[in-house]
């Protein structure tokens, strides 16, 4: 079987470098397509990679890579694709992942599919992807027909499955060109950990919009009572009430949790684009004609400043 390269996503926010859950999802997909080879740029505890089926682990020293945007990483992958005669490359979706994938696809003259929500082997063995497009109104099946498929996969595409891999480690020294070092990171201020689940990975997301009036404490209190991540509409982000990293929608995050609760959010198409594929949707909005109610499994027409604190209290009491 041929090698399927998985670019390992590393979370350094807690001070300790950790392999992210989407990486384990990619390894699970890679096992469907061939033999997973994890590509680690920098250092991280590789135990989870082994536990989730990596047969090989390529480790790449990041001294020449860390201070730059994506171009060096694309060079690493292009060189590894050739060395390993890889059958496909899987990369976590997200701003950085998609740019790495874009540059890689040009370098190796291969087809690229972004934001897959599922990947399965097709008739000829090559991967067939599923994507959700036009604000989640359509699903699309596609496959790459030229070169080595480069696919970026969204978080939560599959449930990671454990399966012990050989995890043979091999140091790979890539040649990074000077041209790839043209975009320099000159300062970096890490985001503070909120203590809440990661927005794109959470089982429950509770969001607030312009209707919060700027005070997110009720939204956050309700979110904490049900163990949810907190999200926001662009109106709330534009008003400076929440950082952009919390924005759900076309130009923010796409989430697809078990439960999405929209509070004081009208339900514009661009917001829907980021949450429409959630399993269950609840809205609290004081306007009974708000378009968000077209999507909901359950809705409350009312003032969120009354409904959320009361619901939070009732839930806390139930938990005793």
């Amino acid at each position: 079987m041929s090698e399927v390269l998985v670019l390992v996503d590393i979370d350094r926010s807690s001070g300790v470098a950790k392999v992210t859950k989407p990486t384990l999802e990619l390894l699970t997909i890679a096992r469907r397509l061939g033999e997973p080879s994890a590509v680690v740029i920098g250092t991280v505890d590789t135990a989870p990679l082994k536990a989730y089926g990596a047969e090989k682990i390529y480790t790449v020293d990041d001294a020449d890579i860390a201070g730059f945007l994506v171009a060096p990483k694309a060079e690493v992958l292009a060189q590894l694709v050739e060395k390993a005669s890889a059958a496909a490359v899987l990369i976590p979706s997200g701003g950085e992942g998609k740019e790495i994938a874009g540059r890689l696809a040009v370098k190796i003259d291969s087809g690229l599919i972004t934001d897959a929500v599922d990947v399965a082997p097709g008739d000829g063995g090559g991967p067939v992807t599923t994507q959700s497009v036009f604000a989640g109104n359509f699903t699309v099946q596609a496959k790459v027909i030229k070169g080595i498929p480069v696919i970026t996969v969204k978080p939560n595409a599959v449930t990671p499955e454990q399966s012990e891999g050989a995890a043979a480690e091999e140091a790979f020294s890539a040649t990074i060109s000077d041209a790839a070092k043209g975009a320099r990171i000159t300062a970096s201020e890490p985001r503070k950990a909120s203590g809440r689940p990661e927005l794109t990975e959470a089982a429950i997301v509770v969001s607030g919009g312009r209707g919060t009036g700027g005070d997110f404490s009720e939204v956050e209190g309700f979110a904490d009572s049900i163990g949810a991540a907190v999200g926001a509409s662009r109106a709330a982000v534009d008003s400076g009430w929440m950082p952009h990293a919390f924005q759900v929608g076309q130009t923010g995050k796409t989430v697809s949790p078990q439960l999405y609760v929209a509070n004081g959010i009208s339900g514009a198409i661009q917001h829907r684009a980021g949450m429409q594929t959630s399993k269950t949707i609840i809205a609290v909005n004081k306007d009974d004609e708000a378009p968000i109610f077209e999507l909901v499994d359950f809705g409350v027409v009312g003032d969120l400043h009354a409904v959320l604190p009361a619901a939070t209290e009732a839930i806390t009491q139930r938990k005793g």
Partner: protein
């Protein structure tokens, strides 16, 4: 300085966007417009021009069907100086790899007249939403890409942006020439003024074919695509569920009961 802004003509997101029988996006039957996310790119290009002074020229570049002229026109009305429309039947159905190839050749052709310093793109197109063309374009032009800027400064030959990443807020720098992409956090785009609308009518707008770019039609379009769509399916519309009206706390009670019935608590 010479700035090229890449803008895309896209189907209106609030209209009924759909696919043709060959699984390509219907770009003709649905009302289109200048991608809202590319208005931010035009705005940033104009701001750079305004800061640097008059001899800076902003060229708007689009690859798209005949109606895509509307997208260029809008950018000219906002204040860009001239337009280039790459129009060729063979381009229909192109994927990001082909689009970036055409854009790269067009930028090079613009360069052969007046050398370019900065290419500005939007963060993603509102229809394809891939967010890959700026990186691909930079790769093809062999220049750095400084991407997803929410705050942009140009000083001499240095472009500096603030980038609100998932893990950190970063400052990123590059030296011209380079490709810059800007987000919808970079500042509201201006509306065309009446004067701008009148002035746009007299601004130069060139239309180039693939042959003008020296590109072989075999390299682009649906038949040359690097990937193929096997099927498209409309997601079944969500059926609206129960909606209750809150009266003296009844809403919260019903909400908690619903959560419990679905085992969320």
């Amino acid at each position: 300085m010479n700035i090229v802004v890449c803008v895309k003509y896209v189907p209106d997101a609030t209209a009924d966007r759909h696919f043709e029988s060959d699984h390509t996006v219907d770009r003709v039957g649905v009302d289109g417009l200048l991608s809202e996310l590319d208005e931010y790119a035009v705005e940033q290009a104009l701001q750079v021009k305004e800061k640097l002074g008059d001899d800076t020229e902003v060229t708007v570049l689009t690859v798209g069907p005949e109606q895509a002229t509307d997208a260029i026109r809008k950018a000219l009305q906002m204040g860009a100086d001239k337009g280039v429309h790459v129009l060729d039947d063979a381009i229909a159905g192109s994927d990001a790899l082909a689009t970036s190839l055409v854009l790269a050749e067009a930028v090079k052709k613009i360069d052969s007249d007046t050398s370019w310093d900065l290419v500005v793109c939007g963060m993603a197109s509102t229809d394809g939403s891939m967010g890959v063309v700026p990186a691909m374009l930079a790769e093809r032009l062999g220049v750095p890409a400084v991407t997803l800027g929410s705050e942009i400064t140009v000083e001499g030959t240095t472009v500096r942006i603030r980038r609100d990443g998932d893990a950190a807020t970063e400052t990123v720098e590059g030296t011209l020439p380079l490709v810059l992409s800007v987000t919808d956090q970079s500042g509201e785009a201006r509306y065309p003024s009446f004067k701008g609308i009148m002035a746009a009518k007299k601004k130069p707008l060139e239309t180039w074919s693939l042959a003008d770019l020296g590109l072989d039609a075999e390299l682009v379009g649906l038949s040359a695509a690097w990937s193929t769509v096997e099927g498209t399916e409309a997601r079944p519309p969500r059926t609206a569920g129960e909606v209750v009206t809150d009266e003296d706390g009844s809403g919260a009670t019903a909400l908690v009961e619903f959560l419990a019935s679905k085992k969320f608590i």
